[in-house]
Symmetry: C2
Subunit: 297 residues, 2 copies
Amino acid sequence: MTTVLDGDAVASDIRDSLTDNIDTLTTAGVTPGLATVLMSTDPSSETYVSMKQRDCEEVGINGIHVEIDADAPATELYETIEDLNDDPAVHGILVQLPVPEHVDERRVVRSIDPEKDVDGFHPENVGRLVGGESRFKPCTPHGVQKLLDAAGVDPDGKEVVIVGRSEIVGKPLANLLIQKAPGGNATVTVCHSHTEDLAAKTRTADIVVAAAGVPELIDGTMLREGATVIDVGVNSVDAETEKGYELVGDVDFESAKEKAGVITPVPGGVGPMTRAMLLYNTVKAASAQTGVDVELP
Amino acid sequence: MTTVLDGDAVASDIRDSLTDNIDTLTTAGVTPGLATVLMSTDPSSETYVSMKQRDCEEVGINGIHVEIDADAPATELYETIEDLNDDPAVHGILVQLPVPEHVDERRVVRSIDPEKDVDGFHPENVGRLVGGESRFKPCTPHGVQKLLDAAGVDPDGKEVVIVGRSEIVGKPLANLLIQKAPGGNATVTVCHSHTEDLAAKTRTADIVVAAAGVPELIDGTMLREGATVIDVGVNSVDAETEKGYELVGDVDFESAKEKAGVITPVPGGVGPMTRAMLLYNTVKAASAQTGVDVELP
């Protein structure tokens, strides 16, 4: 019997606990504030940002939205970040990536105050995560860890194969799962485009995390019977739908489901967890910056 | 036919090139300066520091040695670091670890100016390494990469098993070898004390890096025919020698040599590389801080 993990339900539980945390903060006079900065005309970036703002509103986080013309000089973005760094009402800052080509993305990431870096992408925060003393875990890998926990799958001693080595998923997740810490202690292999026999690696894994950005890369023949399969992919592919496309994961769900013990769907798996963990990081940031203690879920 | 890698010879070549770099710097009026700070009465720490100072002298780096009484208040160390951060004659700072228990080691590591952090342990530098834009690669993993290169072993597409997840070897080496970059692109697995069947993992590897700190953990039965074996271990074990002990690696050299295609000895393998890469980082630091260009080996 295969368990299909309900990411929406797990995320909803986390949001409920965060709402309690936010009540505690608000009672103490602190309204957690998340600034989202959009410098793009890309429709999916716009969608992501508006979803994040809606999430904030729902749980009682003060969402501050800044929009910068995509053609504006890069300095406008850098200065906006400086202002938000200095603003005590803003506890978390998220600049929606990618930024336009004339903007130095690395400079953007590094100029966010590490204490407000709720994406967890600042080098100092990446380094802390590797060292086992993370300030903010990046939202997607953190969401994957929470999903595994909710499913009762403890990575300790397990063989985990992560397919993909991105800065936002593959690398931080690998670094999280090898930690000598609860939710870690896994034997982790990172596979990517230069891996010679991907199927041979995934077939030995207790847990496969697909985060390569390649539609339906992992199918049932590549899995061990009973494996846990976490699909991080969100790929838009042409389809005869009303919109002319559909969203598919990095896993071929139908064939993978035949083999997997536990599997996440797309959508409704990792996606809602990523969104919930952004709220988590914002609450954590507000608590750390104000000294008002909360018990995070 | 097994190749026994001569780390002394490879390190000597690197030191020769660095001597040229140092000539360039000196001609431009810059003498690279490395400060070593010792706050310990541990004999091996004392030995390590004096070796580093001797290495500096040999290549023309200005070695500045600061010794702090192991019983002194922690603030004395913190203030020393502040002073060295501010001293323009000091381009690199190395605090010999471990520090006494009453000193906060994390604070020590974080208080070193990242631009002078030639050990590469500051979170910001760890984060940059993960992001593929390292400022200083930690000396031992960097030395391993250089050794592989000198042996003509390209990790690209290879299966690498790293045994050990320390902050100074296992974690940074894994993060280096998965980079989409020359000397990287390997499929990397990190094993450790919670790995359930270590031999099964090492037996599939093209390259095994033993960095667990467990004497002779890896023997020939755990290796694939023709594997490359890099032994990072330096363990002192009781022996009927004059000193009452001997140094052995994490690899059982005799049995491993029968299987391996390429293998490093202990001593004379990774050890001299680690020392050479500290000089490399110091030269790199001096160049970066003064704007005098050098072509690093």
